[in-house]
């Protein structure tokens, strides 16, 4: 329920997809994500839902830029200058600045009042300014009416110590839960709701009395008032409920709808700005020190805001996106064979033992793996002071630091492998997960055997599980060893290739009609205790000899060899299954070739 509910709040399909991917690959992280997102969802559901809907109506305009932008400032250093340049250009124009500021203010108020049409209308112009600290200060009064704590989070000038205090206070507050406190909270809420109800009643009554057109100002004021009240009720309600849930306590501080809205604005800002900026990964090297101060400032604001969200445990939507896109893009690129110039990334090569160790947590800096997340956090302390803060220790996954880090690619330790850095056509692996899977599939024994068919073996447990989902369903087998899940596909294949014939699967007789009577007959004869003298025994022995001779894979092999000479590598229709499920010894392909192809296909599938 939780997840499906959240799903609705993703602005684009792509973002949602990334989120789900992240949840699948992220291991222990997804739980926190999920919870944070859930909270976010709650916030938006009341106050921002309209905006979300609006945004979803025009996903095309910013779906693609969002993916490139959200990660670019952190991950791909060459992007930063272009971003700053663009901002600079915008900021240089005072008229735009003024206009933007004005709109922004108005926009914000209206947003709080639930009128979001202007946001969309003026989105192009406002978005660049969303990260302006001045807007933050403009917003602050609104925030303060809701939750005085929250504004501190959004103060870019706030030091790390403050943040720490904030954090500790949050946690201390939630730890001692008092039922009586809860009761008073609830009754307070009830009063407030009644109050609000009366207010709306009076507004309705007044409206019906005044027949003429009411002024827009009045209406806006009314709406503003009610929304503000509603928001505070919701916040209180959630904070009351949240204190019951230990896992929510970290995210309590992010409950403020204004914060999430800010996040949205951030999203907007991130979306629009790079739309005409330089393409990803081809820009100049990281920030030159001689940038104009304004540029620096923006950059800093950006970083700090990110960091802040981090430290306070606030996972605003925009952060989730960045995290997710980070990972997914990593892996997609790996498959497409990204054209990173050889020097532009750092190659790490893990040792075999390291790869095969059952580690699930890896250091993003040096690649060392750990069984437990806590151990990794301890390890991270060695990489610098910034990892020593309690906050960093609590939230370890994110690579931090204001300065962008170099892209990392991985090399397979197996010499001669195409994924090995000494190979002529070296293709690096993107993530440590890729390294692990690649190494196991290509250079390790296949130790997992399918318990159902007892023939297919795998070296990666996930592959086995994928196979088990289909095992038995691919019952249509060709003499060349290709299996098909559908009979017509097999027949199409046979019709296409000279000399290929259908084969009866050796493991089971599923899908074949006769077997029963004819093939089982001799065994039954042998089993029966009739005394028919030599003939009964003769039957048994003769048959046993024959069956092994006539129905061995070797036999199929000989039939199909001729055909294979002509078609060294037929373009099978379902490449994934056909290559991955080759029966050993039943075809002409070199084993390694088939395996490699299969592993590639699998990697793609997994990612």
């Amino acid at each position: 329920m939780n997840n499906s509910y959240l799903y609705g709040f993703f602005l684009t399909r792509k973002a949602a997809k990334r989120w789900t991917k992240a949840c699948m690959t992220g291991g222990g992280r997804e739980k926190e994500h999920g919870m944070n997102l859930f909270v976010f969802g709650l916030c938006t559901s009341e106050s921002d839902i309209k905006m979300d809907l609006k945004n979803r109506q025009c996903p095309d305009t910013w779906a693609n830029p969002s993916s490139s932008m959200n990660e670019s400032p952190k991950k791909v250093p060459p992007d930063l200058p272009s971003f700053t340049n663009f901002s600079l250009h915008k900021w240089d124009d005072p008229s735009i600045l003024d206009y933007n500021t004005r709109i922004e203010q108005e926009n914000w108020d209206q947003r709080m009042g639930g009128q979001d049409r202007p946001v969309n209308e003026t989105r192009d112009s406002t978005s660049t300014l969303d990260w302006d600290p001045r807007i933050g200060s403009q917003v602050r009064p609104v925030n303060e009416t809701l939750d005085s704590n929250r504004t501190q989070d959004w103060d870019p000038r706030m030091g790390s110590q403050d943040r720490l205090m904030n954090e500790t206070r949050d946690s201390s507050r939630t730890q001692d839960w008092d039922p009586r406190m809860m009761l008073t909270n609830l009754s307070f809420l009830e009063d407030k709701i009644h109050h609000l109800q009366d207010l709306v009643h009076t507004i309705v009554g007044r409206r019906s009395q005044v027949v003429g057109p009411t002024t827009d100002e009045l209406r806006v004021q009314q709406q503003q008032l009610i929304t503000a009240d509603l928001t505070s009720i919701i916040v209180q309600l959630i904070s009351t409920a949240g204190s019951l849930l230990p896992s929510v306590k970290h995210s309590l501080s992010s409950l403020n709808p204004s914060a999430s809205q800010l996040g949205h604005l951030g999203q907007l800002g991130g979306v629009i700005v790079p739309s005409d900026s330089a393409p990803n990964g081809s820009g100049p090297p990281p920030l030159p020190p001689s940038l104009p101060p304004q540029n620096n400032y923006i950059n800093k604001v950006e970083d700090q805001s990110n960091g802040m969200i981090h430290l306070t445990g606030n996972r605003g939507p925009e952060q989730i996106y960045t995290v997710d896109e980070h990972e997914s893009k990593d892996e997609e690129d790996a498959e497409e064979g990204e054209n990173l110039p050889p020097g532009s990334y750092e190659i790490l090569q893990l040792e075999k033992e390291e790869i095969l160790a059952p580690h699930t947590h890896f250091c993003m800096i040096c690649g060392k793996g750990f069984k437990r997340d806590a151990n990794l956090r301890m390890h991270m302390r060695g990489h610098g002071d910034e990892y020593k803060t309690p906050a960093a220790l609590a939230k370890p996954q994110k690579e931090l630091g204001p300065e962008p880090i170099l892209i990392k690619r991985y090399s397979c330790p197996y010499v001669g492998c195409k994924r090995n850095r000494d190979h002529k056509k070296f293709q690096p692996l993107k993530t440590i997960l890729c390294v692990k899977n690649h190494y196991k599939r290509t250079h390790c024994d296949k130790s997992y055997t399918c318990s159902r068919c007892n023939t297919k073996k795998f070296s990666v447990l996930a592959d086995l599980k994928t196979h088990e989902k289909h095992c038995g369903r691919d019952k249509w087998l060709c003499s060349c060893g290709t299996t098909f899940s559908r009979k017509d596909k097999l027949f199409g294949h046979i019709a296409l290739f000279q000399g290929h014939t259908p084969a009866i699967p050796m493991d089971e007789n599923k899908g074949l009609v006769d077997c029963g009577e004819s093939s089982e007959a001799p065994k039954k004869v042998a089993r029966l205790s009739f005394d028919f003298g030599s003939s009964g025994n003769g039957i048994q022995s003769g048959v046993d000899d024959d069956t092994s001779g006539f129905f061995s894979p070797l036999n199929f092999d000989t039939c199909s060899l001729g055909g294979f000479g002509e078609f060294p590598r037929p373009p099978f229709e379902d490449a994934e299954s056909s290559m991955a499920f080759l029966i050993s010894g039943s075809c002409n392909y070199s084993r390694k070739n088939g395996g490699e192809l299969g592993s590639n296909g699998q990697e793609q599938m997994n990612e």
């Binding site: 249509w476 009979k487 017509d488 027949f491 046979i494 019709a495 000399g499 290929h500 014939t501 259908p502 009866i504 899908g511 074949l512 009609v513 006769d514 077997c515 029963g516 009577e517 004819s518 093939s519 089982e520 007959a521 001799p522 039954k524 004869v525 029966l528 205790s529 009739f530 028919f532 003939s535 003769g538 039957i539 003769g542 048959v543 024959d546 069956t547 001779g549 006539f550 129905f551």
Partner: protein, 641 residues
């Protein structure tokens, strides 16, 4: 005795020519039993071998080195051991081109593969009605690469996969029959049409295929003959594909395709002017005149069957004026076939040889007169249920149709002794059916018996006037009689049996409900008719165990027996089952004197040989599971009544 030395000096090639000219198998048997040199000639020149006992397979094949045809269809369940013994005899088996394995049982897929590999140059194979022939068997068979002809009728276990294997393995196939292979679908036919491009004959009757299959069959360039009886899912669109494709099509059978209408037939006729055979029986109630109009293009048509359709004299006139060379026409169960229709028809088609007028019950002697006037070469005439016919018809037949070989007069109540007297002029008669002709007596039968000495098959079902005298005449006249139905001729007694025992060739005798027959009668019959292979004794309740003992002793060739409602005892049944070494099919329902133990013992005695047995349903739970399992494992089908 004087001629023997002369014959013994004849060179073996002359003897071989003499041997090849011998008309019947009994003559060949006498020939080879004459002397050693004759026997030697027979050994060398023997081309076909029908094996009755698998244990002699090896010795027989060593003796006859030039066998072309090996018939295992009447062999008891064959096992892999017998086949594996053949592996050493490569020189004598390599010449085997035809392998008849219809109704075979017991062989495993690997055994079949071994057999096929041993017969290196196999060209024709018949595995029809092989219970348990499935995909694995088809896989085994597919290693016969040179196969040109294959019959797989009612191989219920063969699916598309098996067919695909055969289609790929046996690419030279020219004739293929897949009748009743119910598992085969469009996919299999599609692949077949792509892989077996040399196919000339294809039978896909009763398959669950749709018009889609016919689209692919339409692409087969060499297909000449297509049988597609009872394709319920095929409609006019399918026939349209056939009309546009199959450029070599000569014969087509679209009967009983219930979703086909005149327009489908129309497209076939329009597409294939050189059609020789067309069977469109039981498809439409009325053939539209436009379709009939197109018949004028079918100048070469030899055979047409329009069974079950409504025909008029005008439509038959169109056929008779256009299809001049028509040799066979089937109008059975056609409504409104009147004398005029037949007169119109035969006025043009004087070359008719086969005429089926079954259940055209409006026909009178006039029609027969017209037929006999025009079609002097008539070979086969079927007049079942034409009850208006009188002896005059038989008179005209006896006068003019002297070549007549087959005549069906079942249920023609107008047939009497006088008529049979006229008919006896047709001395070429081979098959005569007089079932339900209650007006004939021994006298009439004696006319036939005295003149029609070539009769092989005679049906006297429920001819209540037939008694021992008739049979006596029959046995003295029709010495070649092979098949006789005497069911419900209640007058027949042991005396009749004694006369029948003189018919040495008799192999198939049905004598249900002959309550006057006792054990003595059966004993005499069994002692005389050595070749008896099928015997139906249902409801012959007065036959004692003595008769069965003798049957067991003498009738070593008996393959099928029906003992339902007989008074046979435990011992009698066991004796029968133990001694009838060729017995493969036994119906053993309602044997009131046989106990469960008797059944158990009897079945154990013959379970190695049985292919099919019919038992009372309650025995299913009384017999030991052991014997049932064993029967099943040997490929024997048990039918529970």
């Amino acid at each position: 005795m004087n001629s023997l030395p002369v014959l013994s000096h004849l060179p073996s090639d002359i003897l071989a020519i003499i041997l090849s000219k011998l008309p019947s198998s009994s003559d060949t048997k006498s020939f080879r039993l004459a002397c050693k040199s004759f026997h030697g000639v027979d050994l060398v020149h023997r081309r076909s071998l029908r094996v009755l006992r698998p244990e002699f397979l090896t010795t027989l094949l060593t003796k006859f080195p030039h066998i072309h045809t090996l018939d295992l269809s009447v062999c008891p369940p064959l096992d892999d051991v017998a086949v594996s013994a053949l592996v050493e005899l490569t020189e004598s088996t390599r010449g085997v081109k035809r392998l008849i394995m219809s109704r075979l049982a017991g062989l495993s897929p690997s055994g079949l593969e071994g057999l096929v590999r041993v017969c290196g140059g196999l060209e024709v194979a018949d595995v029809s009605y092989w219970c348990g022939f499935g995909d694995r068997m088809a896989f085994a068979l597919s290693c016969a690469e040179g196969l040109r002809e294959l019959r797989m009728d009612k191989c219920l276990g063969v699916s598309d996969v098996g067919l695909a294997k055969i289609a790929v393995g046996c690419g030279k196939l020219e004739k293929l029959s897949l009748k009743w292979c119910l598992e085969i679908s469009d996919l299999g036919i599609e692949l077949l049409s792509k892989k077996c491009v040399h196919l000339k004959f294809l039978d896909i009757s009763y398959l669950k295929v749709t018009s889609e299959s016919l689209r692919f069959i339409g692409n087969m360039q060499k297909l000449e003959e297509l049988a597609m009886v009872g394709l319920k899912l095929v409609d006019d669109i399918g026939l349209h594909f056939l009309g546009k494709g199959c450029p070599s099509l000569k014969a087509i059978d679209v009967s009983r395709c219930i979703n086909v209408s005149s327009s489908g037939l129309f497209s076939i006729i329009r597409g294939h002017h050189s059609l020789l055979q067309l069977n469109a029986g039981y498809n439409f109630f009325e053939i539209s005149t436009t379709v009939l109009h197109w018949f004028k293009d079918l100048k070469n048509l030899k055979t047409i069957r329009l069974d079950g359709a409504r025909v008029s004299d005008s439509s038959l006139q169109i056929i008779s004026t256009n299809c001049r060379f028509l040799a066979e026409i089937g109008l059975s169960k056609c409504r409104c076939v009147t004398d005029e229709c037949i007169v119109q028809l035969v006025s043009g088609c004087v070359t008719l040889k086969i005429l089926d007028l079954t259940c055209c019950n409006a026909l009178t002697d006039l029609a027969i007169a017209a037929i006999t006037d025009s079609c002097r070469n008539l070979l086969c005439l079927k007049l079942e249920s034409c009850s208006l016919l009188t002896e005059k018809s038989l008179d005209s037949l006896g006068l003019r149709c002297l070549l007549l070989e087959e005549l069906d007069l079942t249920d023609c109540s107008g047939v009497n002794d006088k008529g049979l007297n006229y008919l006896s002029n047709c001395s070429e008669l081979v098959c005569l059916k007089l079932g339900l002709c209650t007006n004939i007596s021994d006298k009439g039968l004696s006319y036939i018996a005295s003149n029609c000495s070539k009769i092989l098959e005679l049906d006297l079902y429920r001819c209540l006037g037939i008694g021992d005298d008739g049979l006596a005449a029959l046995s003295s006249g029709c010495k070649k009689l092979k098949k006789l139905n005497l069911s419900y001729c209640t007058e027949v007694t042991d005396l009749g049996m004694k006369s029948l025992s003189r018919l040495e060739e008799l192999s198939d005798l049905e004598m249900r409900s002959l309550s006057n027959i006792t054990g003595a009668g059966l004993s005499v019959l069994a002692a005389g008719c050595e070749r008896l292979s099928e015997l139906d004794l249902k409801h012959c309740e007065n036959i004692t165990d003595l008769g069965f003992w003798d049957l067991a002793y003498y009738s070593r060739n008996l393959r099928q027996i029906n003992l339902c409602n007989c008074a046979i005892s435990d011992v009698g049944l066991c004796m029968l089952m133990v001694n009838l070494t060729c017995l493969q099919d036994a119906k053993l329902v309602s044997l009131k004197n046989v106990s469960v133990n008797g059944f158990e013992l009897a079945l154990r005695a013959c379970c190695m040989r049985l292919k099919k047995v019919k038992l009372l349903g309650c025995l299913k739970f009384q017999l030991s599971s052991q014997i049932l399992e064993y029967l099943w494992a040997r490929g024997c089908r048990i039918r529970w009544d």
